[in-house]
């Protein structure tokens, strides 16, 4: 693995290897006195976030540090990006300064791919930490890891992905990964929040959350991406909550074994009620914890292998 840009670049075996490695890492660190591995000593990971993020950036930072890599965060306000430097120049600067891996979040879809092309001659690995409305592969992987831990095998399971699919890179990556791992995916969203090409996706589509909940093994709620909405996609937050919010009543429609996931940050009272978010059925904190192990696994497979000649 040279980069992690898209779930579409993985086959089922590669995805399972990443999940297995994450599980092993979790097990290795469990109950230890020292949560630090020497594996990536001498390697440098730079996180460059062109959009705000707490959990993803911190998760990569902890992952790198627990494997003894040197982790440097470049925040946009305090860097030359704020002065107008291009993504390409920033990337080449980081490579020249000795970065082994660049973790990038960018508002433009495809930015991580472009970065990987610009850095191809340098041997620097690129990890896509979210690009526009395109993909967020590590989020999908940590979601799959969380589901696998709770449900056992993912193959043959039916998973509902609910909410703002149109603007969600998490939904796109999850659809790719869950179907790759053999699950059936049902997208539940208002028609205005579904992408135009959804008919060609390998998924079912529904606009009726109540009707779907009884027959699924898990529900993945999405964040309503208000910052990406330039226009009215639904009449009001209240109406969205009534039609697509996960509340106590709807939780009772779910089979008992089915957990609830949310990539965060949660809009309580709109996408998910506090009663559900704070219940034992919601795996939000497990997702965050798994995120660290999963990102350790990604860094391990990108950086611990053979040096590029």
């Amino acid at each position: 693995m040279r980069h992690l840009l898209s779930i579409a670049d993985l086959d089922a075996q590669a995805a399972s290897t990443l999940l297995d490695t994450a599980d092993r890492l979790e097990q290795t660190l469990l109950g230890r006195q020292v949560r630090k591995l020497p594996t990536l000593r001498g390697r440098t990971v730079v996180t460059v976030f062109y959009e705000n993020s707490t959990r993803t950036r911190v998760s990569f930072e902890i992952a790198g540090k627990w494997m003894s890599a040197d982790v440097i965060n470049v925040s946009i306000g305090g860097s030359s990006v704020g002065k107008g430097e291009s993504l390409r120049d920033t990337a080449l600067t980081l490579a020249a300064a000795g970065a082994d891996c660049v973790v990038v979040r960018h508002p433009a879809s495809g930015a991580a791919h472009r970065l990987a092309q610009w850095l191809a001659h340098t041997g620097v690995a690129v990890v896509n930490a979210g690009d526009g409305t395109h993909e967020h592969p590590t989020q999908a992987l940590l979601d799959a890891q969380t589901l696998r831990q709770r449900l056992g095998d993912i193959a043959g399971r039916r998973i509902a992905v609910v909410g703002d699919v149109l603007h969600s890179r998490v939904a796109r990556s999850n659809v790719l990964l869950l179907t790759l791992l053999g699950a059936q995916v049902v997208l539940v969203a208002p028609p205005t929040l579904l992408p135009s090409g959804v008919g060609s996706w390998p998924v079912e589509v529904s606009h009726d959350l109540d009707a779907v909940l009884g027959g699924v093994d898990a529900v993945m709620m999405l964040r309503v991406q208000a910052e990406r909405m330039h226009g009215g996609f639904f009449p009001s937050a209240r109406e969205y909550a009534v039609d697509y919010g996960l509340n106590r009543r709807r939780l009772d429609l779910l089979p008992e074994h089915a957990p609830v996931l949310h990539p965060g940050p949660m809009l309580r009272g709109m996408e998910i009620s506090s009663a559900v978010a704070d219940s034992g059925r919601a795996l939000v904190t497990e997702q965050v914890r798994n995120g660290v192990h999963l990102r350790m696994a990604v860094l391990y497979h990108l950086l611990a292998g053979e040096e590029v000649e």
Binding site: M1, T17, D20, T21, R24, L25, Q27, T28, G31, R32, Q33, V34, K36, L37, P38, T39, M67, Y300, H301, A304, G305, E306, E307
Partner: protein, 216 residues
């Protein structure tokens, strides 16, 4: 006992069977006796002994040693596995390896007499990685090393406390330990690896398919 040469044919050309099934069983039984004697684990003031197998084949070996010790003394010694992949010093020289399980016995390793168990002792680098890994898991009172085969060619000042069999080898040769739990049968094979057209000696990296030992 049949002469070794008589067994060579059965293992295929270029391959010599160093130990057959009965030899492996006898060797493990002898190592169990040595561990009992040296650690006095059946004495009234016995130390807290833990057997930690290094994956892949050290893990079943540790379990077998524990079973033999229980058979001979009635004392049950806890076993665990310790994957050392994340501590290896050659990670950047080979493709990323899959991780093997690590599981420590309840009660941890603090103040225990930990016996590390591996199939083959070669350069000593795996054992060094294991010592580094142990340090992050606790503070054993003492650490000992048990190996089924010592094939020499050490690159570090490390020696085993319990050796099933010393096997003088050439560097180019490979020692393959086969265990019923993973390979369907017990055997120890010596193979001579031929250089390829470019003159490089082939190496196998995947546990289970490659030659045993710490230069894997």
């Amino acid at each position: 006992m049949a002469p070794r040469s008589a067994r060579a044919g059965a293992a295929g050309s270029g391959e010599r069977e160093l130990l057959v099934e009965a030899d492996v069983a006898r060797t493990i039984a002898r190592m169990a006796h040595q561990i009992i004697e040296k650690t006095a684990l059946d004495a009234p003031d016995a130390p807290h002994v833990v057997l930690l197998g290094i994956p892949t084949r050290g893990a079943p070996l540790a379990r077998r040693l524990s079973a033999k010790i229980a058979e001979f003394t009635g004392v049950t010694i806890p076993t665990g596995t310790l994957d050392v992949t994340l501590y290896r010093d050659d990670l950047r020289r080979r493709p990323a390896r899959p991780l093997e399980p690590t599981s420590l016995p309840d009660g941890g390793l603090d103040d225990a007499l930990v016996v590390l168990v591996d199939d083959v002792l070669f350069s000593g680098r795996t054992v060094r990685a294991a010592l580094d890994a142990l340090r992050d898991h606790g503070r054993p009172a003492a650490v000992q090393l048990a190996v089924l085969i010592d094939r020499g060619h050490r690159e570090l000042p490390i020696r085993a406390d319990y050796v099933g069999k010393n096997v003088p080898t050439a560097r180019r040769e490979e020692v393959w330990v086969r265990l019923t739990e993973l390979d369907g049968a017990d055997a120890v094979l010596l193979r001579r690896s031929e250089p390829d057209a470019a003159g490089a000696v082939p190496s196998a990296d995947s546990p289970g398919d490659g030659p045993a030992g710490d230069a894997r």
